[in-house]
Symmetry: none
Subunit: 132 residues, 4 copies
């Protein structure tokens, strides 16, 4: 059931291909269901802030089983702040990541940073959609 490295690399490649059509540079992080990194790629010239953004958003999508951007409005709510803190402060509840699903279960997530939140999420979806 779990994502293989080959699948993770396919996801990352599809996200990068989409970023190229948008003319932007991105970091893309693919993690497992537990939020632990499987594969990561930083396109040349992409700011290293996106190293953290892409990974934190991927972890949040895996943790909650939904796009990290769906949680942004509630990021300051005590429940969400508390969960993020309890996990060690790694998760980022910002737009740019989606879970990777198989047979109705979360098997990982794809997180992107470097563009706008919209662009990042579009790249993440392009990545995640190539595995199902």
């Amino acid at each position: 059931m779990s994502l293989t490295l080959q699948e993770a690399n396919r996801i990352a490649g599809a996200a990068i291909a989409h970023a190229e059509t948008l003319g932007i540079g991105i970091c893309v992080a693919v993690c497992d269901a537990g939020g632990r990194l499987l594969a990561f790629q930083r396109m040349d010239g992409t700011t290293w802030a996106a190293v953290y953004g892409s990974q934190g958003k991927a972890a949040a999508s895996a943790a909650f089983g939904r796009p990290s951007g769906d949680l942004t409005e509630r990021a300051d709510h005590p429940t969400f702040r508390g969960i993020v803190a309890a996990d060690g402060g790694r998760m980022i509840l910002g737009k740019g990541a989606v879970p990777v699903m198989r047979d109705g279960a979360v098997i990982g997530a794809c997180g992107v940073g470097g563009g706008t939140g919209e662009e990042d999420e579009d790249c993440a979806r392009a990545g995640a959609s190539c595995v199902s």
Copy 2:
């Protein structure tokens, strides 16, 4: 006076039974009067973010002797922030947990995560109400 493991499991079972009637997956944490875990159950397919949410809300309910959701509005008040910090950051002042009372005393709490705050609290009440 204190909750037995058998009672804690009865509470968890009743919370899960209620979650099933709502058609949702939950994590349920039952702690003692000191906020320390007695029993925990994660229903299949429930996101692991709820592992932290259910426990943090149960601890808050035990600490303050009231539903954790009753404290959400005051979560940013320095007194509450300070108390949470002083305990190591474990408590979560969000909706979804209730204390377990016996003879007017707090003997523990039941915390739930995985649904909306309302659903979580309903499940927690269903759990707590089967011990009195």
Copy 3:
């Protein structure tokens, strides 16, 4: 591939049954492959220190895919200290937990606290061995 709640409860029950034959009280924590809690039980009268010990050792066993006690000698090595810190300080590299394996893959872990390290690991093995 992942552990179900039913399996996790079977593991916890077998660990407790073994503790009863030893005449000790334990906490038993069963987590998934990512180190996130699935089921937890604290036997009546067991100290709450074991709440943290059982969970931390289970997380370490899941993270490293081996008994947590096999890592105790190296717990002060910079590599192990660094990994524990990077994960948020949750893992405990002490004796008392074993991974749960299926088809050669780590699918979770069983961690026990409350007895001596030897007793805890024996209980954890009794738990883990009933799922394979």
Copy 4:
């Protein structure tokens, strides 16, 4: 002067190829001169503890411009502890990473986790040596 993503992937691929000749599973992290991640790969079945180990060792090698294992003996020295803490606690001064050099300058590092310290460093060297 800086490493390209293509080079980083070549380094990661060479480290994995070496791990395969050793019959072990690894995580390999390639970072830039500033210790920020460029590319990461986790071989199937590799424990997630190595996710943190590989990255922390790569960051240390980039920071100090030498193999991270050369610093293990001094890891408890206040100067090194202080530098690690000042960077947020990410660096790991354990064996398993080497800097990537070009024209006498550090342009990045390759960090590996999953094997013994020796095996990890051998894989890291195999990776780093294919770019010069």
